[in-house]
């Protein structure tokens, strides 16, 4: 968390949360969150449904008020200000375009409410529609547009107000895969051009990894880890994060000495955990970081476990082998290259990996 550039002291904090808690009756939706989102940062809040990410976003928007804590936008406390008094705008899930207004009036709504002059509204709406490449759609009603077009209008309707922070609540969730990938790169480009912060809520880890400068992972109301995508993937702080981001094998074991972990079957692998001797740990082995081969001796600088191939999944560009170890099953992913020998179910194999290829987290499942 300390080594990321966006949160360093030189940048301005766009959104600052301190001890933010939100309770709905007895349910704690958001539990004591501290978070700084930098100006100009593309920040993703990622987590399973019900983890509190949307509630957090809604508190920043002003659609919910925090039960406790301080919420600042550019150093102004906004905790209990209504949404219309905050310099942020939201792109809603399923867009929430006003069905009885045409596109021009939809996009110009925020400006009209701020009593901007008619002529200026007209130019700015024109610019906003041009920005999302839908200039000729102004006269249409929202239900005459496709899903992708509605999503762009929702974006234009928010951005036309020149917010200091743009909030996006699962904005791409309703689009099909191809369109989603297209919109991902468009959003990213737009954010770079505008230079404002985008705070983005999603349950799609791939979306978060590809688009964000930093990701905040949430579960059960708590913010578990805030880091750039690489750090999240390479050095997850606990089993949940490791499991939630990408495919993971979690090999459980105990710390035997300062640089050896003993796995549950007794296999010893050299690994500097930095944890106390005797602590239970899980070793994170990503499927693509392991290689699979015939039974053999371990090469220097590598760790290995023996197993039997249970099943094979063909993915086209890769093959995933499910390997049965003595006490669990793991997945190993091999690139589908012509010279690689294929393995068959029932074959006895050795799964090996470089020492540096794994990470370790405390605790077992």
């Amino acid at each position: 968390m300390n080594d990321n550039p966006a949160a360093s002291d030189t940048t301005v904090t766009a959104v600052g949360l301190r001890g933010i808690t939100k309770r709905f009756g007895d349910v704690v939706a958001v539990d004591n969150i501290d978070l700084d989102i930098g100006d100009g940062e593309f920040f993703a809040l990622l987590g399973p449904s019900g983890c509190g990410k949307t509630t957090t976003l809604r508190m920043i928007a002003g659609l919910e008020f925090p039960t406790q804590g301080s919420l600042k936008i550019f150093d102004h406390e906004v905790g209990t200000l209504p949404p219309n008094k905050r310099p942020v705008n939201t792109v809603f899930q399923n867009y929430a375009l006003f069905p009885h207004l045409d596109i021009n009036d939809n996009v110009g709504f925020g400006l009209r409410m701020q009593r901007v002059k008619k002529a200026e509204i007209k130019t700015r709406v024109g610019e906003a529609l041009e920005m999302v490449k839908l200039s000729n759609m102004g006269e249409r009603k929202p239900d005459q547009l496709s899903g992708g077009q509605q999503q762009r209008i929702a974006l234009a309707r928010a951005l036309v107000n020149r917010p200091k922070v743009l909030l996006l609540d699962e904005p791409l969730g309703a689009l099909d895969l191809k369109l989603r990938v297209e919109m991902q790169s468009e959003l990213k480009t737009l954010q770079r051009e505008l230079g404002i912060s985008f705070v983005f809520v999603t349950h799609d880890q791939e979306e978060a990894l590809t688009m964000s400068d930093r990701i905040g992972i949430m579960d059960q109301g708590q913010l578990l880890q805030v880091d750039p995508p690489e750090a999240i993937y390479e050095r997850p702080v606990n089993r949940f994060v490791a499991d939630f981001i990408g495919q993971t094998n979690l090999l459980e074991g105990n710390v035997e000495s300062s640089d050896v972990v003993c796995l549950l079957n007794g296999a010893r692998i050299p690994l500097d955990t930095g944890l106390a001797v005797g602590s239970s740990v899980s070793v994170i082995l990503r499927p693509e970081r392991a290689t699979i081969g015939s039974r053999r001796e371990i090469e220097p600088g590598q760790s290995a476990v023996d197993g039997v191939i249970r099943s094979i999944t063909y993915l086209g560009n890769a093959i995933v082998y499910r390997v049965g170890l003595d006490w669990m099953e793991i997945d190993v992913r091999e690139e589908n290259l012509p010279h690689e020998t294929r393995h068959e179910p029932g074959e006895e194999v050795t799964v090996s990996w470089d020492h540096g290829a794994v990470a370790v987290v405390e605790g077992q499942g």
Binding site: L63, P83, N84, T90, F109, P142, S146, G147, L175
Partner: protein, 308 residues
Amino acid sequence: MVERYESINSESTGMSGDTAKPRGTTKWLLSTNAILVYVFFYAPIILLLIFSFSDNRNVGTWGGFTLDWYREFAANEPIQDSIWISVKVALVSTGVSVVLGTMAALALERFRFRGDRVFDGLLYLPIIIPDVTMAVMMLLFFSQFLDLIDSVLGIQITKGFTTIAISHIAFSISFVSIVVRARLAGMDERLEEAALDLYATRWKTFRHITLPQIAPGVAGGALLALTLSLDDVVITQFVSGPGATTLPVYVFGLIRRGVTPLINSVSVLMLAASVLLVILSLLAQRTTGSKGPPADADTDDEPSRVGI
């Protein structure tokens, strides 16, 4: 077999439908039924229309064509006064109950507050309890409180226009609020949030977003209130005074004194007014009906319904 028939039937709505349409005896029974229903509905109306032109003091006897009853109607001042009262009561009670009913619907649909379930239940009480009970309640209420209001506030209310209007408001609110609530429940709450997010105040959000969205419901509720007010006999009869009464109550009184075809002509005019209202409401629904709820987010990049 039955399932198969239904699945074909549901799929063939857009086709010529030569498999699913009823045939033979079924078809014959269905069309007979339809004709019977229409006869049942409209024969009395047509009879009423015909006999309003009958030149005979006996309501049910044809005595040649005349417009006398319409002339008598035009010359009859008490009837015209009662029409005027009816219209005034209907307009006032509709106006007030639409505002109050819509507010109640908004409160129940949008906010959680202590006792909202109880309020919800109580709001619908006037629909459930019989008219006569309601009438007695109102009568009792006015007899107890009119003097009190006079002594405390110094406002003198006599039984008549004011009491009728208050009673009609009391039972119309529930109907308005039911109709408006149905519409509100179907409205996407995020539209209001989006408006708030786009710098609208609560009032402007209501004015620019919520109201246009629920307008068909409000209009429907208003028409319902108008009809109920114009129709009501039982409650009005209890709370009306000697000076002022509505048309239905006046007609009811006429019948007790002896029936003349004058009642026929009055009824025809009331009928014409009702039909006019229905036509107006249908027209209103047609203009607002084209603005349906937003199309579901389709995954297709082609415009879903261009040019409608």
